[in-house]
Symmetry: C2
Subunit: 205 residues, 2 copies
DNA sequence: CCTCATTTGTAGTGATCACTACAGATGTGA
DNA sequence: TCACATCTGTAGTGATCACTACAAATGAGG
């Protein structure tokens, strides 16, 4: 059995380049011409390896998800709900403005509203954002069972608020918000979500 | 002086249809074919009236901004900072899920990441979102001067947090979040931002 | 070395993109 | 009534889109 000519490019490295293009331009704004140029391969190689543009996007997204979800698991291992949220939001502030990556998060930059040929893209991105929210909610349910959250706290609502903040931070980062901007709004959000026990906000006058 | 054949379509009504298309599909996902079909006009009429696709988008955006900013002015007239934020967030929860409109907000759905031909679009949308944030920050500065906010509150950071929530809610709405979802996370956010003075969060046991 | 499965680069494919030339239609002013 | 300025519909324009036919190249079995 002959095995055929071996692939001359590194699949994972090429996916990283594709991820970068989709991240900066969105699914619809990324053209095959730019993708192949950045990946350093020709269209037939791309189509043989990934099927079509959407297949390439999904493969790049899978690679992105693997990173994100590995990082998320680390964060969810933090001892308290407050610590989980703090690391998640402050970590996201750093990640969204990391000069090594395009600004923002591929889960949002990929495309929120697309045309007919790309209608799967917003749905797929929403699905992946929802996965993170489920993991966060489950972590809050555990915290609630451990007495680590006030008894009236609703894990699902808390998780949805944290995810809302994260997605809002993403919109801001893509519009040029600085790392400091994001950290300071995270500080304020954390103070509201997990008020320091001894401080009396409106005591003196 | 002859005045030429009069325009046969209603400019404002046509812009409303175009706004709807851009809102659902984003700038890049909206094709001229769909725009002209929905607007009920032919390409030459569109180009005579609006110049090109970007001109049409800007005109639709201007119409959208006029509505948004008029509504924003009403909200900023609320007597207290807390009331401003409450009306803004709860109002946004209703607006983002209003079945009369596409889900989400045109300022975000229009396009966060676009290709080379549309690079002005994300920047223009960011500029308009920033306008709302400035108005909100100025309202908080007024509240701060009136003693309506705690002395350590920073209006700019508070405004950026509220806008972050709004933009995050937009991402969620475009992904199918229900009106109830949004209202409940807004309730939680409001309780954190403006804690009820008499309630002791961790008193009983 | 030969066969064969697969990849690679070249050079395209039809479809669709935003956009427009053109001629007929339409209403205004003289 | 007639010239003119503008709009309207038909029917395209070249450019670019995602995608592919094809033959040379490449290396693993036999």
């Amino acid at each position: 059995m002959a095995m055929g000519r071996p692939r001359a490019f590194d699949r994972e490295a090429a996916l990283d380049r594709a991820m970068d293009v989709f991240w900066r331009k969105g699914y619809e704004g990324a053209t095959l011409a730019e993708l192949t140029r950045e990946m350093g391969i020709n269209p037939p190689s791309l189509y043989a390896a990934f099927g079509n543009k959407e297949g390439l996007f999904t493969a790049a997204l899978d690679r992105y998800s693997a990173r994100i979800e590995s990082y998320l698991r680390e964060i969810l291992a933090a001892p308290t709900a407050r610590e989980v949220v703090s690391r998640m939001l402050h970590g996201k502030a750093d990640y969204l403005t990391d000069p090594a990556n395009p600004p923002g998060c591929l889960y949002v930059q990929g495309g929120l509203a697309c045309g007919e040929d790309a209608k799967n893209v917003p749905a797929e991105l929403a699905r992946r954002r929802a996965r993170a929210e489920v993991a966060l909610r489950e972590r809050f349910e555990q915290a609630s069972a451990e007495g680590d959250l006030p008894p009236d706290a609703v894990p699902a609502v808390l998780a949805s608020l944290v995810m809302t903040l994260i997605q809002g931070m993403d919109v801001r980062a893509s519009a040029g918000a600085t790392r400091e901007d994001l950290h300071s709004l995270v500080d304020l959000a954390l103070a509201g979500l997990f008020p320091p026990p001894a401080a009396a906000p409106t005591s003196d006058g």
